[in-house]
Subunit: 599 residues, 2 copies
C-alpha cells in the first residue's frame, strides 16, 4: 500500500471556502497569510510530511516504545523524522512571531495539521501538545517565562505536555490531589501522580516542559482550588540551557490498542522531595488557563478524526481500484473487474469522501471562526466567540465519531485483508478509536453543548447560528441540481429547531431530561452543520466552475456531487435522532443500576 | 475486571420466547429437548465456559500464536481448556446422535454458542468450524466417510476446517484454481494454495479434517466447476487412527488486529506431489455442498456479534458501577457518584442492552426457524425454509454491524481506560471487528438479500414475512404501556413496505439501482425485524409477569423497558435509510473511479 499523500488540493479548496482565507488576509493581523502564500507553504509542508513522516508510520506502530527507568525510547525511525521537522521549522506555523513562530491563522494551522496527523498520527501528538502548551504560555505566562521557554518550544527543540488527569480524577478534574507547596524563592514543590500524559517522557527533544494542575496548601476544594504550574524535565541553567534533572519521573507507560508509538505516561512528581515548578497565571485560576488551551485542543482532536479517516480512505480507494473480484453488474464484460466498479463499494467510497469533506469543513469553519474572533473588534467579535464556543464540542465529538465510522468503512472495503495488520488500514482503525475519548469524551462534549453552550445568552447565540445556517436555503433557491439538497436541508433545520426548543425548555425544568438526549442532540447539530457547510461547498464549487477556476471542472463537479450525497443521503439521519432527544430521562432509570447487569 | 459470565437467564428467556422451544419440543424429533432439560444443560454448559474458558481469553490474546515449519503453537492456557471441553463432550450439542452427538435443535446450539464465544472468541472458532465441517459431512458425506470421520470430530478429538479462499478468489470463489487430479484408487491429488483458513493448523487436536474446494481437470470454468474434497492432515491407518502425514502444510499465519489466538493460516497443498483427498458429494457440486454449511456459518457469525457485544457490555456495566466521577445531576448529594448514575452513561448502557437483546432475538428466531423447517413437512416447511433464506443475510450482517457498535460503546463507557489493553474491552473491540467481514462481507450479505432472497417467489416470500411482522401490531393494540412502541413499529413497517416496493421494482429495471441501496436496505430490514421481535419480547414478558413467572417481576419489567427503548428510540433510524435506498446508482457513478482519489 502506498503511504499517505497530503490532499493539498482538497485542503486548499477548504481554505478558500469554509476557511474564509480571503476575508482573513484582508485584515492587518493576517495580511501575510494571503491565499497564494499559504498555497506555497502547503505545497512544501505537504511534501515534507509525505516524504519524511509518512514512511515512519507503520514502522513506528510495529516497533512501538520501550520504557526503562532512564526514560522512554521512541521508534528508531522517529529520530530523523523529528530532527528534520525541527530543521524545517514547521512547529511555529500558528505561533507567536515574537518568539520565532510564523503567526499564521488557526485555520492554516488546522488544515496543515491534517498532513501531520495523516502521515503519522502517533508522532503528531508531540507537536500538537507542544503547540497547546505554547499557546497557553503565550496567553498566561509571564514575560520572563515566555522568553525562557517559548523560543525553544516554538523551534521544536523542546516539547510541552498537559498534566490534568489523575487516577481518581478524569473528567472530574476537581478531584485532583497533586500538591504544590510554595518555596521562599517563589517556586513551588510539586508532588503527586499524573496519568495519561501523552509524550510525558521521550527521547526526541532535549527538554520537556510540563504544564501541571496542582493545589496549593490552602486552596479551596474542587475546581476552584486548582492552579497551573510549569515544571521542566530539566531545570534551566543560568544560560537558559537544560541543566539539573527535576524530580519528575515516568514510572510506566500504557499498553494501548493504538497510537502505539505515542508514549502515554504515568508521571510521578516529587518522589525525592518535590519537583520544582513555577506558577503560570494566578493561583486557583489553573482551570481557566487550561480552558484557554482546551478549545484549541478539542478542535485539534476533531481534525485528527478527519486526518486519520483521510489516510484510511486513501488506502481504501487504492485497494478498490486494484482488487479484482466479481463481474460488473449491468455490463456485458465477461471477466472480473476491480471492485471499485461495484455499486456497494462505490457507495462506501462516496460516503467516506462526503463525510471526510463535511468534517473537514466543520473544523475549518471553526478554526476560521477563531481567527475571525481574534481579528475582529467589539460586538462582531462576540458573535464569532459564541460560534467558537458552540461549535467546539460539536467539532470534537461529531468529527471523531464520524472519523471512526469512516475508518471502519475503509477497513471494510479491504474485506479480510483489512483485518491483517500489513494492510495498514487496521492501524488507522486502532489509532482512530482514541479520538472520541481523549480531550473530554464525546459524552462530555455533548453535556458541554447542552449544559453550557446552548444556554449562552439564553439560547440566543444558538438561535443566531441556526438562522445563519438557514440563510443557505435562500442561496440554494432556483438551482435545479441542488433542489433535493435544499429540501433535505430545510427538513433538517426544522428538525433542529424542534429538538433545540425541546432541549432548552425541558433542560430548564429538569436538566436530566436534556442530558439524557445530549449525545443524539450533538449528532443532530453535527449533521445539520455539516450539511450546511456542504451546501456551501456545492455553491462555492459551482461559482468556481462558472469562473473557469484552475482546479478544473471535473474536480469541482466532484465537490458538488459529494455535497449532494451528504445532504441528500446522510443528513436525513437527523430524523432518526429526535425521538431519542425528546424522550427524557425517565426510561433510562426504569431499570435499576443493579438490574442493568446481565443475568 | 471480572471475566465473562454466561447470561443464562437471558439465554433461557430468549429460548422460550423467540426460540419457540415449547413448539419445537412438541415434535418427535426434538422431544428430548424440552425447556426444563435444556435449562439444566445450560446451567452446566454456562458454568463450564465461565470457569474453564473465560479465564483463558485475555492470556490467549496476550500470548498469541507461534508459527514454525512444524506447525502452529497455540497459547499454553488453551491446552487444558480444550482437553476439558472434549472431556465434557460439549462439541456434539446439535450434531447427529448416530455418531455421538446430542441432537439438540439449532436454537439450543445457537444460544449455547454465546457462552463459547463470549468466554473466548478466538478459541470458539475451533469448535465452530468443526461443527460446520461435521454438518457438511452429515449431509453430503458417504456412509463410509461419516463412519471414519464423524465420531472423532463430534467428540472434539479431531477438528475441521473450510478451505474456500485463495489469494485471487475471495468473495469471487469461482476464480479459484486449486486442482484435484483423480487417482486410480478413487482418491484425488490436491495442489494449490488456500488462504484465511481459520485453525488450518494448530496443536489442540490429533487430526485436522480439511474440506477443500478444488477443480478436477476437465471441470467447467467458474463456480460450476468446483468440487469439494476431504483432506485430512494425517491420513487414517487401517484402524482409523491418524497415520502418515498428508501433503498439506501451513506456510504462514496472518498478523491480525484481533482474535490473536485463532490461527489464520496459509495452507499449501501438494508441495511434494499432491495431498490425498476424497470427493465429498458429487463432482462440480462443491459449491452446493458449501452452501449447506454456509447458512449455518452465517447464523453463527451473527451470534458472534451478540456474544462478543455481551462480553463487552458486562465489563462496561461493572466499570460504570465502580467508577466514581462527577456529581449526580438533579440530586442534593455533594460527593461524586458512580458514573452509572449519569444520564449519558445510562443511555449508553440501556441502548447496548436493548441492541444485544434485539440481535439475540433475531438469531434465535432464525435458528428456531431452521428447526421448524427441519421438523415440519410439506408446504409449511417451505414457509420456514424461505424465512431462513430471507433472514440469514440479515442476521449475519445486521447482528455483526450492531455488535461492532455495541462493543465500541462499551469501550466508550470506560473512557481512557477502555483504550488500554488491560481493561479487556479493547480486546473485545478488536476481536469483534472481524465479524462484519468473514463468512461473506456484510456488503455481500446485502447483495444476497436484494439480489437472491427478495426475488424468492417474485417477492411473495418477503411479503409473507412482512405480513407476519405486522401481525404484532394487533397484539399491541390497547396496551397503554406499549402504545408508543406500536406507533413506532407501524411507521417502520410502512417504511419497509415503501423501500421494498422500490427495490423490487427498480431492481428489475436496473439491478444496479437495487444494489446501490442494498446495505441501507439490509439495515432497514434488520431494524424492523429487530423491532418486531423486541415487541414480541415485551408481550411475552408481560404475559410471564401476569402468570407470576419464576424469573421475577423486576427482571421481566426490564425486558419490557429494553424492548420499548429499542422500538421507540432505535427503530426510528429506519426513516433515515429510505433516502439512500431509493436514490439509485446514478450519483455513485457521477465521480469517475480515478477522480475518487483525494488530490
Amino acid at each position: 500500500m502506498a503511504d499517505y499523500r497530503t490532499p493539498k488540493k482538497d485542503l486548499l479548496f477548504a481554505l478558500r471556502t469554509a476557511g474564509m482565507i480571503d476575508e482573513l488576509s484582508s485584515r492587518e493581523r493576517f495580511a501575510h497569510a494571503d491565499y497564494e502564500t499559504v498555497a506555497g507553504v502547503f505545497e512544501e509542508h505537504g511534501r515534507f510530511f509525505d516524504e519524511v513522516w509518512a514512511p515512519t508510520n507503520a514502522p513506528g506502530d510495529a516497533e512501538g516504545l520501550t520504557w526503562s527507568e532512564d526514560g522512554v525510547t521512541t521508534p528508531e525511525v522517529f529520530k530523523e523524522a523529528w530532527a528534520k521537522y525541527v530543521e524545517a521549522g514547521w512547529q511555529g506555523m500558528n505561533l507567536d512571531p515574537d518568539y520565532g513562530g510564523m503567526g499564521f491563522p488557526e485555520v492554516v494551522y488546522s488544515l496543515g495539521a491534517e498532513a501531520v496527523i495523516g502521515s503519522n498520527a502517533a508522532l503528531s501528538m508531540l507537536p500538537g501538545l507542544t503547540t497547546g502548551a505554547v499557546e497557553l504560555l503565550q496567553h498566561w505566562g509571564t514575560e520572563e517565562q515566555k522568553e525562557r521557554y517559548l523560543p525553544k518550544m516554538i523551534s521544536g527543540e523542546w516539547s510541552g505536555t498537559m498534566n490534568l488527569t489523575e487516577p481518581q480524577a478524569g473528567s472530574d478534574v476537581g478531584l485532583s490531589t497533586t500538591r504544590a507547596v510554595p518555596q521562599d524563592d517563589g517556586s513551588f514543590l510539586i508532588t503527586g501522580t499524573k496519568i495519561f500524559i501523552s509524550f510525558g517522557e521521550h527521547d526526541l527533544t532535549s527538554n520537556i516542559i510540563h504544564l501541571v494542575l496542582a493545589r496549593t496548601p490552602d486552596a479551596p476544594a474542587g475546581t476552584r482550588g486548582i492552579s497551573l504550574f510549569l515544571v521542566p524535565k530539566f531545570l534551566l541553567d543560568d544560560d537558559g540551557n537544560p541543566g539539573a534533572r527535576n524530580d519528575v519521573k515516568c514510572v510506566s507507560i500504557e499498553h494501548k490498542m493504538g497510537i502505539h508509538a505515542s508514549p502515554t505516561c504515568v508521571l510521578s512528581y516529587g518522589d525525592e522531595g518535590g519537583a520544582i515548578g513555577w506558577l503560570v497565571g494566578e493561583e486557583n485560576q489553573g482551570l481557566n488557563a487550561m480552558f484557554t488551551m482546551m478549545n484549541a485542543a478539542r478542535l485539534a482532536v476533531g481534525v485528527q478524526g478527519t486526518g486519520i479517516a483521510e489516510a484510511a480512505y486513501q488506502k481504501a480507494v487504492d485497494y478498490a481500484a486494484e482488487r479484482v473480484q466479481g463481474r460488473e453488474i449491468g455490463s456485458d464484460e465477461k471477466g472480473s473487474v476491480p471492485i471499485i466498479r461495484h455499486p456497494d463499494v462505490r457507495r462506501m467510497l462516496l460516503s467516506m469522501r462526503a463525510r471526510i469533506e463535511a468534517t473537514r469543513n466543520l473544523t475549518t469553519h471553526l478554526a476560521a471562526s477563531i481567527d475571525m474572533a481574534n481579528s475582529t473588534e467589539g460586538e462582531d467579535s462576540q458573535g464569532w466567540d459564541e460560534r467558537v464556543e458552540l461549535l467546539t464540542p460539536v467539532a470534537k465529538a461529531w468529527c471523531t465519531d464520524v472519523g471512526v465510522e469512516v475508518t471502519s468503512t475503509a477497513l471494510q472495503v479491504f474485506g479480510g485483508m483489512g483485518y491483517i495488520e500489513e494492510s495498514g488500514v487496521a492501524q488507522h482503525f486502532r489509532d482512530q478509536r482514541i479520538t472520541p475519548i481523549y480531550e473530554g469524551t464525546n459524552g462530555i462534549q455533548a453535556m458541554d453543548l447542552v449544559g453550557r453552550k446552548l444556554p449562552i445568552r439564553a439560547g440566543a447565540a444558538f438561535a443566531d447560528l441556526a438562522k445563519e445556517m438557514r440563510r443557505v436555503l435562500t442561496e440554494l433557491e432556483g438551482i435545479d441540481e441542488l433542489a433535493a439538497t435544499r429540501d433535505s436541508l430545510a427538513a433538517a433545520f426544522d428538525e433542529l429547531d424542534t429538538a433545540t426548543a425541546w432541549v432548552m425548555e425541558h433542560g430548564l425544568a429538569d436538566p436530566r431530561d436534556a442530558l439524557a438526549g445530549a449525545t443524539p442532540y450533538l449528532e443532530l447539530v453535527g449533521l445539520t452543520a455539516g450539511g450546511w457547510l456542504m451546501a456551501r461547498q456545492a455553491l462555492a464549487a459551482r461559482r468556481e466552475i462558472e469562473q473557469g477556476a484552475a482546479d478544473g471542472k471535473e474536480y469541482l463537479e466532484a465537490k458538488v456531487t459529494s455535497a449532494r450525497f451528504f445532504c441528500e443521503q446522510l443528513v436525513p439521519k437527523v430524523h432518526a435522532l429526535t425521538p431519542s432527544i425528546t424522550a427524557g430521562h425517565g426510561i433510562l432509570y426504569e431499570v435499576d443500576a443493579e438490574a442493568l447487569a446481565s443475568s
